[in-house]
Symmetry: C2
Subunit: 390 residues, 2 copies
Amino acid sequence: MLRSEPREECSSSNEAADHGFVTQAPLVKADNHSYYSVRTVSTLSVWSLLVAQVGLKDVARAAGVSYKTVSRVVNGEALVSEATRRRVEAAVAELGYQPNHSAQSLRRGRTHTLRLIMYLRETHLRQERFQDEVIAAIIDRATQAGYSVLLELTRDDDSPAQLARFGDRRSDGTILLDGRSASPLVPTLRRGGTPTVILVNPDADPSFGSIDADFVGGARQMVRHLIELGHRRIAHLADDPALHSSRGRRQGYEEALREAGIEPEGDLMEPAGYTRNHGAAAAERVLARRPDVTAFFCVNDLTALGAVEYLRQSGRRVSEDVSVTGYDDISLARYATPPLTTLRIPWYEMAEAATSQVIGAVAGDEAFPARREFPVELILRETTGPAPGS
Amino acid sequence: MLRSEPREECSSSNEAADHGFVTQAPLVKADNHSYYSVRTVSTLSVWSLLVAQVGLKDVARAAGVSYKTVSRVVNGEALVSEATRRRVEAAVAELGYQPNHSAQSLRRGRTHTLRLIMYLRETHLRQERFQDEVIAAIIDRATQAGYSVLLELTRDDDSPAQLARFGDRRSDGTILLDGRSASPLVPTLRRGGTPTVILVNPDADPSFGSIDADFVGGARQMVRHLIELGHRRIAHLADDPALHSSRGRRQGYEEALREAGIEPEGDLMEPAGYTRNHGAAAAERVLARRPDVTAFFCVNDLTALGAVEYLRQSGRRVSEDVSVTGYDDISLARYATPPLTTLRIPWYEMAEAATSQVIGAVAGDEAFPARREFPVELILRETTGPAPGS
DNA sequence: ACTCGACTCTGCAACGTCGCACATTCGCTA
DNA sequence: TAGCGAATGTGCGACGTTGCAGAGTCGAGT
């Protein structure tokens, strides 16, 4: 079924002819191997080499001015007569001149590029959907400010060489999405010397800007909500405590309980993980030792959905018998049956703020590094209900 | 009726960004704890300028050799004595030298960067989740080959200037994910002169490599499946016919019907769109004029889920009374109730193949541009069943 | 002792751009 | 008409890197 049909030839030489430089030697990079013949015989083998880079000099020659004048025109500087400017602009358009980004960066010491580094626990992005929003926000904000975005992924098994790469000067600044409390990227980026803002990991490094969500407050809100519904024995399905956000959720959980005069119990807190299966298995373990539990406060939506799954399989009614809450408001949460009560984290806005902060820092903003925390929103759906018999 | 979540926009974020740590009005009645704005004092204001770039020359001075020798060591060239090499390496480590990417690119004429341009119909990435897989595949493959990835988004309202930017020489090659049959990026990229591979849009340009999925064959399989279940009046909820993939699905639908001796009927084909709401509304329109329909072949999973929702609300049983099929196998499809019968498109593999092709082309592979088509896999779940009374 | 080649290493030039100092032209005032 | 400043254009150099040509050193073969 997989068919592969090689295709040949195309018309790029025609196009070159349109611009009139096909026979002019100087424009073709002739190093010492001649591409002249290649060009005429032209299979497309050396495709990318055939279209020579048009430089300021070429435009200057075409317009009959010095190349510095062309530079002035393209950079919109003053001190060029209207007539000259028009002539130059015509030549630019005709030759399709585009400034060479590498040369500009080299000369100016700025790359006009931002780097987004995302830490992934999984091979794919699949599990942690909020990252879509983060990516979109950063690109939107960066584009708007004239920056490009370099996207990099990092995983636990990255080699030291790979890590070192993140510290290079390819970008003017970095947005790091990495909740690990001891991220190996931190020293690299600190050393790299370009401004960095870290998302949801405020303690990573004091020299980084930080954008965080109020995980503690969110958890507190949610657990209070459960308590108001009459729940007293609320289990917490937790994720890796090495993540700042996990610790925050746990803290908020305990705070809300204490606030209501309930002492947190160790055997109600269960390390789960972050997938559906993790959630289902953890719910099973908790219920095995504490059948009196009436609510599950889960560290994220997937574990919550897993818990829901286990509860239904084991013959319990979700919301009537046992309440379940998630965290993150991934799109699945809304469309699950029953729709999941959860907490929304304003990822888009947070990522946008992070980007703005980096851009500000590059421009020399005095306020860098700053730290901001965003509120988290309670989303009530149908997996929570009054505690049985209350 | 589709339940739509109230989702207040956090529009204050720009303002907040400008002023630093503005405490935002809580999105919900959050507990009113101050969102603290700890701010490290900024001696670090001109942060990015403080750490000077360490160059070959600096390393050379430290190691007592010429800078060319350092270059040799860094690039792992031969003809350097073991003693010198060690001395240089020590100096490199001590000074934290990192090659200047701009200078390398300028000199070598290669940026070692690939560009992924994604066309979006929505502001966010949210609706079209397969893009996660595409991004991950491209980054994985690119990283493995020593390339970085520049991620760009394009929308229908991009300005000509923005479009022109995509043709610059910042990257050695481009992967374009844009199903529009007349994408404005095509001329730009063709002119740009770097190798380009386009995903799921094989007719865009003959000079581009192409990776496609067998949309026709997938649709044919699915409709055959429905026919085998006894369905005869099968509606098609379609998306924008300007998209290559939409045309393919439609074609496969018609082919499978004709194959079975069923003449496609115009009023069974309904332009829907690509969201849940679109799907629900379209299903309603079709059933209003053709209550005899027993199956919906939907252009994608979201419209299918919308159709399911409408059918259930209107008192019909999905699978027993009416069958519904999706296309794409997004993660929602698996966890919906009932789980959706759909077609899986191997996005990861396709994106990986596209990346390999671009990388090959940059390296001068003779086989560029090539065209490949990937098969699509039928995923049977629980929204399809025998036609009523068959 | 001399040549020769292999092995090390050096220095210059150039990639495309932009900052700077300067050259030329022009219109206007003294 | 000379003088003078503004308007306009030129050319050099440097950013950090790599390709190239070649210089120096050393040991082995004549």
